[in-house]
């Protein structure tokens, strides 16, 4: 309709708000899918797969068969120690034989010479060839004898994903083709060989296969996935993902608030037109259809523009992220982002703007003759808020996996929609009464207040919601980053020594002491599975917590200790009495929460082929991110006495101790060394990378905030013009008025800043504690930022409004 096109300019704020909403969804869906994929990959690359089983014996052929049937990729590797000769000198090497599929995740990197450029490759050593560690650089191009076979040394291996970076003082790596292994004759009964079978595939397939595997696993075989191999890493990934979801939802909330506010503004502007048309006898129904058409065309144009905008933002985003990730984001080919973007745009328009416009179609025609026609209806208010709630909720459910987050966000939006206008209106009244003594000013401000209750308060609440969301993103981000830093004191352990044979545990501990290496007490580690709680089969219990089932299906670490480990705190019951031989168990708080365990509950556990029964005697909080050995279950020494265990300790090894460490590894060759520094760098990297991506969404948030501000400036402008002309007629000084206007806005700004900071602090606390499980710190900066920015922005807005008002000629005002 021609008229529709011509009047669209009165809708332009609403239009831009919708475009922003649609592009947020488009680009977030395009990007989060890809970043999620990338985060998964990054994590999986630490294992070179999504899941690994490790054993000292060869695996059943059935495993591979089953994995393939589950739609997974499979790769095998075998590693063992062997000696080679360089000239006449023997050298211990870590030999690893891999098949064509290796690595399932991540890439190998190689070079021809130590100083040469490294290149990633999908190849593995060809038959008859080996690739060697850079420490063996002198061997390149020459022949190398391994056992009974001779090999050409073709490349230097510079990176291998599942090696955890360059572990300097392990024996140097020699990588060969698995098919050559038997030729070497090195694998004979009694040789210490580690077999790894690696799997990769879709998460669902992996999970299904893992269940099968768990049931069929044989003694001595161990499953490793991100969950149990790298809990710190998993936490970082989970938090990052959650944070990303949170930030996007908040950005979206801002954009939708902008739609609501601009829709309200548009509807108010449409009221006189509606009154005129109704006077001409146009029915409410045709008016409703008219607005439906207007919104329909707005939706279509906004969706197309929004999707285009969202689509384009992925390029700068990708460019920015590539610098961090050093590799291309995996492509996602799906129409889903575009569909959901269009749908969210539709929902937002239907939920926020349609009720306002429907409401506008009920403008009484009498309004053409008299502007102030009273009209207040509970039903309409209910319709508007009801449909807004439904819209927000559907969008949240549509876009988020976390129901907790959806509910929390909804609560935030509702609080802003209902409580904020009340509090703001009330506070404004209070403040103005106490600050303004002069009669006419007070009168004037009171009249302004009434105008405020008509609309400005809602705009201000919307502005406040925007500010709260921006603050929240900042607060939670700081808390997350802070939580990593704070738990990393100066001399945090930088190495994990794992796979210490149980017979060696004490000797290793003694060695550490003797060489004054800062190390944790060595822990004996067994992997337990929870079978029963109070003699009821765990698999038969209906747990409330969504992660409970996961805990039942997996094995977790159990250790024994005499003393409460560092940074653990007893929160219920009493710490184990090590001298009492009766069975006792201390359970980690998160596990207790998930499984609903309390002190006194009796747990039945299986460790290997043995079964244990013990009561929970205490519940313990654990700082998982502290890079020290942490355990779900700690038993008294008596309880674990006869179980198969391996040892584990963390140590802080400085440069001068590295020789000692090397010596230790030679003495206890079963030990595997994990470099935590590398791990930490990766963890930090992930959070950093997510932050970069988020800056883009911040731009969207700022754009929405600007729209809200424009609507705020426009709302009530007409009333202001008339009021100011009246006041000028009453011979108030223009300067005074000017100052009153600005003062009014500044006060509003202070109020909004104050409440936004309150809300952001409370919500930030709730989100940190309940959603991310991290500690929360009160931040003065948030309050300062909130108050300052809010005052500043609103003062500027106030100045703009006032300038406009005083630029209008009094004649024009009097005439309208």
């Amino acid at each position: 309709m021609k008229v529709g096109r011509a009047t669209i300019h009165s809708y332009w704020l609403m239009f831009i708000a919708t475009v922003i909403t649609v592009s947020i969804v488009t680009s977030s869906q395009l990007i989060t899918d890809r970043i999620g994929l990338l985060l998964d990959r990054q994590a999986s690359e630490l294992l070179a797969a999504d899941m690994v089983i490790i054993s000292s014996r060869e695996f059943d052929a059935d495993y591979r068969q089953q994995a393939l049937q589950h739609g997974l990729q499979v790769s095998n590797s075998v590693s063992l120690r062997s000696a080679i000769f360089i000239g006449d000198d023997p050298q211990l090497v870590e030999l690893k034989a891999v098949d064509d599929a290796y690595p399932l995740r991540g890439r190998l990197e190689r070079t021809r010479e130590v100083t040469g450029g490294r290149s990633a490759t999908t190849e593995i050593p060809a038959r008859g060839e080996v690739w060697v560690d850079t420490k063996l650089a002198q061997l390149v191009g020459s022949a190398l004898t391994l056992g009974e076979a001779k090999f050409d040394t073709s490349w230097l291996l510079t990176f291998e994903p599942d090696r955890g970076g360059a572990i300097f003082n392990l024996a140097p790596r020699v990588l060969m083709n698995l098919e050559d292994l038997s030729r070497t004759g090195l694998v004979v009964p009694g040789s210490r060989v580690r077999y790894r079978m690696m799997f990769a595939g879709e998460q669902g397939d992996i999970n299904r296969f893992k269940i099968w595997l768990t049931i069929n696993l044989k003694a001595g075989e161990e499953i490793q996935d991100l969950e149990n191999a790298r809990p710190e890493m998993r936490q970082a990934l989970e938090s990052t993902r959650k944070f990303f979801a949170l930030a996007i939802v908040l950005t979206l909330v801002i954009a939708m608030a902008a739609i609501a506010i601009t829709a309200r503004y548009t509807a108010n502007r449409e009221a006189p037109k509606v009154a005129m048309l109704r006077a001409f006898g146009i029915s409410q129904q045709s008016l409703f259809r008219y607005y439906l058409r207007q919104l329909g065309s707005l939706w279509i144009v906004a969706t197309v523009s929004g999707i285009a905008l969202g689509w384009f933002t992925q390029f700068p985003l990708q460019w920015a992220l590539d610098g961090w990730f050093g590799k291309t984001l995996p492509q996602v080919h799906s129409l889903k982002p575009y569909f959901s973007a269009g749908l969210v745009g539709l929902l937002a328009l239907a939920g926020f703007s349609l009720p306002y416009l429907a409401n506008a179609t009920a403008t009484p025609p009498m309004q053409v003759l008299r502007t102030a026609v009273n009209r207040r209806s509970w039903m309409r208010g209910l319709l508007i808020t009801g449909s807004a709630i439904v819209a927000v909720f559907v969008v949240l459910v549509l876009l988020m996996q976390s129901s907790l987050l959806a509910v929390a966000t909804l609560a935030l939006v509702l609080a802003c929609a209902f409580i904020l206008p009340l509090i703001l209106g009330w506070m404004v009244k209070l403040l103005l009464f106490s600050t303004q003594r002069r009669f006419w000013l007070r009168q004037y401000l009171l009249s302004r207040l009434q105008a405020a209750s008509r609309g400005a308060i809602y705009v201000m609440s919307g502005f406040s919601l925007v500010l709260i969301s921006i603050l929240l993103i900042a607060v939670v981000k700081d808390e997350l980053l802070g939580s990593w830093q704070e738990q990393l004191p100066e001399n945090i352990p930088n190495y994990f020594l794992i796979n210490i044979r149980s017979d060696d545990i004490e000797a290793v501990g003694a060695y550490m002491q003797q060489h004054r290496i800062e190390a944790s007490t060595p822990y004996a580690l067994a992997r337990a599975r929870l079978k029963q709680i109070n003699s009821i089969d765990a698999s038969a219990i209906d747990f409330v917590h969504p992660r409970a089932e996961h805990m039942i299906k997996h094995t977790f670490n159990i250790t024994h200790a005499r003393e409460l480990p560092d940074q653990n705190e007893i929160i219920a019951g009493e710490w184990l009495d090590p001298d009492n031989p009766r069975p006792q168990l201390s359970v980690e708080q998160g596990m207790a929460d998930k499984l609903g365990l309390e002190v006194g509950d009796e747990l039945t556990l299986t460790v290997g082929s043995m079964t244990l029964r013990a009561p929970v005697t205490s519940i313990r909080s654990v700082v998982w991110e502290n890079f020290k050995p942490n355990f779900y279950l700690i038993a008294n020494p008596e309880l674990l006495a006869d179980l198969p265990q391996t040892g584990l300790l963390s140590a802080f090894i400085e440069e001068q101790n590295k020789a000692d460490l090397k010596h230790l590894l030679q003495r206890f060759p079963s030990i595997t060394l994990l470099d935590i520094t590398e791990l930490m760098a990766r963890v930090r990297g992930i959070v950093d990378k997510a932050s970069v991506a988020l800056q883009f969404f911040f731009l969207f948030a700022l754009a929405s905030a600007l729209i809200v501000l424009l609507a705020a400036i426009q709302t009530g402008r007409h009333e202001r013009e008339i009021e100011s002309s009246l006041l000028r007629a009453l011979s108030a000084h223009t300067n005074q008025l000017y100052r009153v206007h600005i003062l009014e806005f500044t006060l509003m700004g202070a109020l909004i800043g104050f409440f936004s900071a309150c809300f952001a602090t409370v919500a930030g606390w709730a989100i940190s504690v309940y959603f991310f499980n991290i500690e929360f710190h009160f931040s003065v900066a948030v309050w300062a930022y909130s108050l300052l920015s809010s005052c500043l922005v609103l003062t500027i807005a106030g100045t703009l409004v006032s300038r406009r008002v005083y630029n209008v000629s009094p004649m024009k005002i009097l005439r309208s």
Binding site: M1, K2, V3, A6, T7, H9, S10, P272, K273, A275, M276, L277, R278, A279, F280, G281, I282, S283, Q284, S286, L287, Y290, P364, P365, M366, V368, L369, R370, R815, S816
Partner: protein
């Protein structure tokens, strides 16, 4: 019924509103007939109740007592939507403050009610109407760029475009200077004479009073004179 032959009939109509100071009787006991094709001018001081009366006659508002008939239909117990459908395509309005749609041009303003009423050939009708008010050369101009007189011409074109049986005008010259006001009044009465539309015009100016077929004076919500 006698009302069937009348365009508008008011029977003992009263209007009162609740105010913070108690009940206020704006109109008291008003009886008034308007025949088809008649031009009635209602004059009264500001605050005498003219606008209220016009609103009741057009069915924009509901009377507190008595009966209002428009085109022979009793508006008393009709809903706002029913009253609206009685007006549809049969009434036109001209207001003191024009009530044009800002951001739309003259042509679109005239077309809007036609299109929403589903009239065929809306563009044709609008063009003709704009020619009649002498604005054929300004059809594409945004209304906010037109002078006050021109804006009121657009409003008149909009009112006549629907070919109404009755045209209600509330102080149509109130926002205009004397010369322009006279031109607008000339135009309105000229078009009325041409089309035979019934006209109900309220004003506080004596000048317009003379132009009607019938003059009615209102004071403090009561009719003083009604001359044929």
């Amino acid at each position: 019924m006698a009302e069937d032959n009348l365009c508008i009939a008011l029977n003992q109509v009263g209007k009162s509103v609740d105010t913070p100071d108690g009940k206020l009787d704006i109109l008291k006991n008003i009886s008034l007939d308007v025949k088809y094709q008649e031009a009635v001018v209602i004059k009264g001081a500001s605050g005498s109740g003219k606008t209220t009366l016009l609103g009741l006659m057009a069915g924009l508002d509901q009377a507190s007592s008595g009966d209002v008939f428009l085109f022979g239909e009793n508006l008393t117990r009709k809903s706002e939507e029913q009253r609206s459908s009685i007006r549809a395509g049969r009434v036109g309005f001209v207001f003191q403050s024009f009530h044009l749609v800002q951001g739309a041009n003259a042509m679109q303003n005239v077309m809007l009610p036609l299109e929403l009423a589903g009239k065929a050939g809306a563009q044709q009708l609008a063009m003709e109407s704009l020619q009649q008010v002498g604005l054929a050369h300004k059809t594409g101009t945004l209304v906010e760029h037109l002078s006050g007189g021109e804006q009121q011409r657009v409003a008149i074109a909009r009112a006549f475009a629907v070919k109404p049986q009755v045209l209600f005008a509330d102080e149509p010259t109130g926002n205009l200077d004397a010369v322009t006001g006279r031109q607008i009044a000339d135009l309105m009465f000229h078009l009325r004479d041409q089309s035979g539309t019934t006209l109900v015009l309220v004003t506080h100016e004596n000048e317009l009073l003379e132009r009607g077929d019938r003059q009615i004076l209102i004071e403090s919500g009561k009719l003083l004179t009604s001359q044929a």
